[in-house]
């Protein structure tokens, strides 16, 4: 009897000490995370949960059943195929032109003297941050039918007909406005990795400028430039405000994933089930880019530092 009693007591004592240990551990945990919790909760609800919802939504049909119907619908529709293809093509074209123009430009800016450098950086900063609808309108004001450049060309008697703002090349030009400056700003730190002494050393070994770039400059810079190419590609594919402004009154002139998503909201119900699939495609591109970007930068830094 006494044994049983003491056993019972021991067990309750054991449980309560368990409880106490759990409570104290919870308190420590709360104290460890307390000041970060509000931000983490907001981020989980406003960033992570929507992504999960889109991912799950792409595998759920209209009746709430698990199915691949959204995927087969979207990937099987010619219009969607064109939107996906256009978005990827636009992203690749914009990023590649950005790399070809922005790379040498970034090199030049990195070797500028103080005043010219400060001026260039200021200008590039402003351009990189001027985006969205405002940029779309600025494009019309400069290169539209009554745009400043168009009028100037015609006043000079040149047979200049403006590129349509909603055409592929019209969009490429508008995208480059923000992306080239962004690329220069992004790649500027990489340019300082290339030491001036190396060029001097190459010169004493009677290397030509071409040889220097071929064997030293490009091999060092290329991985980092490709990482920046990836970022520009991903951001271009995901752009929303700018293409929305450019597509303007011709609603379905040039299909892009993001614009299609927006128009499924305001337009008919047709194509609503494509939205989560588009979202997952965009998320996959973004995730791959981010992981590759980190990997490339870490590797490039590893052997340089």
């Amino acid at each position: 009897m006494a044994d049983q009693l003491s056993f019972g007591l021991a067990s309750t004592r054991g449980r309560s000490s368990h409880l106490r240990r759990f409570a104290s551990r919870l308190l420590v945990w709360l104290a460890d995370w307390s000041m970060a919790l509000p931000l983490l909760i907001v981020s989980a609800l406003m960033l992570v949960a929507p992504m999960v919802a889109m991912f799950a939504g792409s595998f759920i049909d209209g009746n709430g059943q698990m199915s691949l119907v959204n995927w087969s619908d979207t990937l099987g529709s010619v219009a969607s195929q064109r939107a996906i293809g256009n978005s990827l093509l636009l992203g690749v074209t914009v990023a590649t032109i950005t790399l070809i123009i922005g790379g040498p430009l970034s090199w030049q800016v990195s070797r500028m003297l103080r005043l010219g450098r400060a001026f260039s950086l200021g200008l590039l900063n402003v351009a990189a941050n001027f985006s969205g609808i405002g940029l779309g309108f600025a494009f019309v004001a400069a290169l539209g039918t009554y745009g400043m450049v168009t009028l100037a060309m015609q006043a000079l008697g040149l047979p200049f007909s403006p590129v349509s703002q909603s055409s592929f090349w019209g969009m490429v030009i508008a995208y480059e406005y923000g992306n080239i400056p962004l690329f220069v700003l992004l790649s500027l730190p990489a340019m300082s990795l290339l030491r001036d002494e190396w060029w001097e050393a190459a010169q004493t070994a009677s290397a030509t400028r071409w040889q220097f770039w071929r064997h030293i400059g490009l091999p060092i810079l290329m991985p980092l430039m490709l990482a920046d190419w990836l970022l520009i590609f991903t951001w271009s594919v995901g752009m929303y405000g700018l293409p929305l402004a450019l597509v303007g009154s011709a609603p379905r002139a040039f299909r892009l994933i993001t614009v299609e998503m927006g128009q499924s909201m305001v337009g008919s119900l047709f194509g609503v089930n494509h939205v989560p699939v588009y979202a997952v495609i965009l998320m996959v591109i973004a995730t791959i880019t981010l992981l590759a970007y980190r990997l490339i930068v870490r590797r490039a830094m590893q052997w340089l530092v």
């Binding site: 260039s120 985006s131 400043m148 402004a245 303007g248």
Partner: protein
């Protein structure tokens, strides 16, 4: 000869500068033009569109609304982010990967995706939140925070694990610039954001980018008024860029580096 070569080297940067400046000049001229259909420059100049804009009830309401939203977003981000970054530095480094993830999401994922996800989620679990600021404001704070978090963690780098007095005497003055530029960047991100505004509240809460889109797509678009609003957003961006440089003690900073969104930004 060397001089010619040096000038030739400058050509790309000069062309780039022209490419950057021309559209801005065109917008600015449009906002002051009386009529502009046939010559290189407008036929005449007037302040009428600017006066029209600022005396127009809709225009003024749009501007005030957007400014208030952007201020609220910046303040909310200060309240959320500063303690989190501070705590990560002085108490629990395990917070760091979570902060990095939260910053990386808006950096890489297009805002349209987040907007549609929030729309689907709120429709399912909290329909009463749909179309309200109670959804838009935290969403803006969440996407805008990545614009400022790099600056903030840079700011927090200076702080050690000191007691509260040290916090007020040493830490706050030191991290001040970082906090200030973080808030400025969050303000800018919210001011220019359109995807979340359009999906979550729409014309019930017309902000500057949405107003500009509506004007641009309207049947009889008033390009002069549009030019005035574009100039205003442009000025806001310019002032923010200068302010960020200023609070960082004149160092040339890369405003764009932390902002995709772009980001519209985007």
């Amino acid at each position: 000869m060397a001089r010619v070569a040096r000038l030739a080297q400058r050509i790309p940067i000069v062309l780039m500068a022209i490419f950057i400046i021309l559209p801005m000049v065109a917008v600015l001229l449009y906002s002051f033009a009386t009529r502009w259909t046939s010559n290189i420059l407008p036929d005449g100049y007037t302040f009428e569109h600017w006066i029209d804009g600022f005396t127009d009830a809709r225009f003024a309401a749009v501007l005030v609304r957007t400014l208030l939203l952007a201020i609220a977003c910046a303040v909310l981000d200060l309240i959320l982010v500063t303690p989190a970054v501070y705590w990560q530095k002085v108490r629990n480094p395990r917070i760091r990967p979570f902060l990095e993830l939260a910053a990386a999401i808006p950096f890489a994922i297009p805002f349209v995706v987040i907007a549609f996800g929030l729309l689907a989620l709120s429709g399912r679990f909290a329909p009463q939140l749909q179309g309200t600021l109670w959804l838009l404001l935290p969403a803006h704070a969440a996407v805008a925070f990545s614009a400022g978090v790099a600056r903030l963690s840079e700011a927090a780098r200076t702080c050690g694990a000191g007691p509260m007095t040290i916090l007020w005497r040493v830490v706050l003055p030191n991290i001040g610039p970082g906090i200030a530029s973080g808030a400025l960047l969050a303000f800018g991100a919210s001011f220019n954001e359109i995807a979340l505004v359009q999906m979550l509240v729409g014309n019930r809460f017309e902000t500057v980018p949405l107003y500009m889109l509506n004007l641009l797509k309207g049947s009889n678009a008033d390009f002069n008024l549009l030019a005035v609003m574009t100039s205003v957003t442009f000025l806001v961006t310019l002032v923010l860029s200068i302010a960020v440089v200023y609070v960082n003690g004149g160092a040339t900073t890369q405003l764009a580096n932390t902002n995709p969104g772009r980001r519209e930004t985007q």
